[in-house]
């Protein structure tokens, strides 16, 4: 999403609403700092220097880089071996006075925002326009309200600078750099992302959205998010948007760490729709303590390859975890998405609902793990995966893994795969729907149980987006 991290050397791809290959970018000479291509110690040093970070963070980055080099590429999931790590810019800082005007945003993208019905202020934010927001005052007062309650909501770089102790206590503790190769990469070169702290007992009624942070750095290529929900507190964070997120770089590798303490509740909603050139390799993990509830709502569209398995570690008795996942794989796309639930304590419960759609030769895979540690008795887990395949070129796979070290547990797994039915299409068409409209209706219905969990404006956008994805797809 961040244009200030982004630069693209090669030609933009064709622009078309149907397949979301959007592209626009800033001329590179507007950057005050741009690392050279590639990845080595010197570049990581440079990043840390530019950010004026404390020594511990610089050391953390350097040791993470070593870990990254040592770790093998994953041999499962999608085709990651095509990523050329030495051909990527890892850090760019835009000139402070970089002003892109709304008029510079390509017509097609503006039209798509219109068709998705995205509010004016948000459109400009999405397009990277640092314009004056008419609603700036509203967001400002929102920020003030939160601050009064002791809520911290800022970008991650600022959090490191302004709240060093709190930051250091949790950063890299939920997902250590050696967790996997891409977590190590992010740990070495991270920049941007959201930082949230909700104090004990504070309940935030409205969803926190990244675009409230208009004064600060946006999400980027290697964003790093850290969220701490203290005892008895509750919040909902919404990230991304259904509008196509243009990233000129081919690799997006984020890390999201969350702690939900005793009795807390937290929901993290992501809807992302990457352009078709992006490898989206994200590590998301939450630790849920006694009697808390952690929920991931995760919508993945676009990208070349997405590998994302939000996980929840149920650390103490009474903790509950829930993941709702939607994946839409269109032509040339592989969505390898799922969930991971780790029951570390007795009387914990988890639920996974996954809905995937594949179309036009796209491939959607569900990959999930339910793990029960020894002694975690009376655990319950329920996994439901439904796949909808829209045509014979497309593909769907399910890879459910279960590792149980205790037998006093209840595990359920249901999976279904269906093809879009000729009879359903005919029925809707015989009521005046075009084939595209009928297909969109069937797909919308298929994901409805998840979409209704989204905040209203996202649900509307999601449904419009599905309609756009279905347009022009059929004769």
């Amino acid at each position: 999403m961040s244009t200030d991290l982004a630069v693209q050397e090669r030609e933009d791809q064709d622009v078309g609403v149907g397949d979301y290959q959007f592209g626009f970018h800033d001329p590179t000479d507007k950057y005050v700092f741009k690392s050279r291509r590639g990845l080595d110690r010197e570049i990581v040093y440079q990043i840390s220097e530019m950010k004026k970070e404390p020594k511990w963070m610089r050391d953390f980055r350097i040791s993470s880089l070593e870990t990254f080099f040592q770790k093998p590429m994953p041999s499962w999931g999608g085709a990651v071996e095509e990523i050329d790590f030495q051909n990527i810019f890892y850090y760019m800082k835009a000139a402070a006075n970089l002003e892109k005007s709304w008029e510079d945003v390509p017509e097609d993208i503006r039209k798509t925002y219109d068709r998705l019905g995205i509010p004016e202020a948000e459109k400009k934010y999405l397009a990277g326009v640092k314009a004056q927001y008419e609603s700036e005052v509203i967001y400002g007062s929102l920020q003030e309200d939160l601050a009064k309650q002791g809520v911290l909501f800022t970008d991650t770089d600022s959090a490191l600078r302004d709240h060093p102790d709190l930051f250091r206590e949790y950063f890299g503790k939920i997902i250590p750099p050696n967790d996997n190769k891409f977590a190590a990469l992010n740990s070495a070169v991270w920049s941007g992302g959201s930082f949230i702290y909700v104090p004990p007992g504070v309940k935030i009624e409205f969803p926190l959205q990244a675009y409230f942070r208009i004064n600060s750095e946006n999400m980027g290529q290697f964003e790093r998010t850290l969220i701490i929900v203290d005892e008895g507190a509750s919040a909902h964070y919404v990230e991304g948007c259904t509008a196509p997120t243009y990233s000129s770089e081919s690799l997006h590798s984020a890390v999201v760490e969350i702690v939900v303490k005793r009795g807390g509740r937290f929901r993290y909603t992501t809807i992302q729709n990457w352009s078709n050139n992006v490898y989206n390799l994200v590590t998301k993990r939450a630790m849920a303590y006694g009697d808390s509830l952690m929920e991931w709502v995760d919508g993945n569209l676009g990208s070349k390859l997405t590998m994302k398995y939000p996980s929840i570690y149920l650390m103490e008795p009474g903790a509950r975890g829930e993941t709702l996942s939607i994946a839409f794989a269109n032509n040339g796309q592989h969505q390898d998405a799922g969930a991971k639930m780790v029951h570390c304590a007795p009387n914990t419960s988890s639920r996974v609902v996954s809905k995937s759609i594949s179309k036009g030769g796209g491939r959607a895979s569900y990959r999930g793990l339910v793990k029960v540690e020894k002694g975690a008795t009376n655990c319950k887990s329920n996994v439901v995966c439904d796949a909808l395949i829209l045509d014979s070129k497309s593909r769907s796979d399910t890879y459910p893994y279960i590792e149980a070290e205790d037998d006093q547990i209840s595990l359920e797994h249901e999976a279904s795969v269906s093809k879009i039915g000729e009879e359903q299409l005919f029925y809707l068409m015989s009521r005046g729907m075009t084939e595209a409209e009928a297909s969109a209706m069937i797909v919308t219905g298929f994901i409805e149980p998840l979409v209704k969990e989204l905040p209203m404006e996202y649900a509307v956008e999601m449904n419009r987006l599905i309609e756009l994805q279905m347009e022009g797809s059929v004769g």
Partner: protein, 268 residues
């Protein structure tokens, strides 16, 4: 001037096997026709072919609505032209609310030029109309929020078809065994629904095994189909006779078709 739905020498095959072997039928707006015949004679095939189901191969003949060649149109265009099929087995569409589905359907059929993504009929007007139609057919308004046919009983599904009929107000409606699988109360409700809807602007073809639907909706013409052909046409009394005495007499009068019917049955 009333429109005509004209089916001429219609020949249809499925997987290379002939099902309809030269069907001729003319229905004018305002008329009620009954189509009867033993199982497998091709009644439902005729209904599906008129609505445009893709699995049937048209090997000959024409279907015209007011001179427009219907066979060149897809099911969506046919619906927008004013054709309607009440399904024998209405299809379930999980996750799609009845009201959303109906609002799209009504918007398309009333504005045949509408393209996907374009405006729908105003919510306020639609809600009121939907509520009125639902109460006329005695459907609980709570059904508007349910998913289309999902978990509906047989009778509820058939009523939902009649609700669609009442909202879409087609020029020609085919009711494919709308009375099958229903108890007598449900048949009565559906029959009354059709009776209310029927008028000078709607031609109706009622496909049925039974006579009950016809008691409320007296046909001007009764057609009997045997082995893919309409072999006899009469008035309401023919329907009554068939119901009382079965198809033995018809078979005797049409030995060639009866023989074909036999052959098909044996092969199957």
């Amino acid at each position: 001037m009333s429109a005509i739905l004209k089916i001429s020498d219609l020949r249809v095959a499925v997987d290379g096997k002939p099902i309809l072997k030269g069907v001729n039928l003319e229905i004018r707006q305002g008329e009620i026709h009954a189509l009867m015949g033993p199982n497998g004679c091709g009644k439902s095939t005729l209904a599906y072919v008129v609505a445009g189901h893709p699995k049937y191969e048209i090997t000959g003949g024409t279907i015209e609505l007011d001179g427009i060649n219907v066979l060149e149109l897809d099911p969506c265009q046919r619906a927008r032209l004013g054709l309607f099929l009440a399904f024998q087995y209405p299809v379930t569409i999980p996750g799609v609310k009845v009201s959303d589905f109906l609002r799209h359907a009504v918007s398309n059929v009333r504005n045949p030029e509408r393209k996907e993504g374009e405006g729908l009929i105003p919510m306020k007007d639609f809600r009121k109309e939907l509520k009125d139609r639902m109460s006329e057919i005695d459907i609980d308004s709570e059904f508007a929020r349910r998913y289309l046919n999902d978990g509906f009983s047989g009778g509820e599904k058939k009523r939902m078809e009649i609700l669609q009929l009442s909202l879409l107000r087609p020029r020609f409606a085919i009711l494919d065994e709308t009375d099958s699988g229903l108890d007598s109360d449900a048949v009565r409700a559906v029959s009354e629904g059709i009776n209310k809807l029927h008028g000078p602007h709607m031609g109706v073809l009622i496909i049925t095994h039974h006579e009950r639907l016809l008691e409320f909706n007296k046909p001007s013409f009764t057609h009997v189909m045997l082995a893919g052909k309409i072999v006899e046409t009469g008035d309401a009394s023919l329907a009554h006779d068939l119901h009382a005495n079965g198809y033995a007499a018809v078979r005797e009068r049409h030995p060639a078709e009866a023989a074909e019917e036999q052959a098909v049955t044996v092969k199957a």
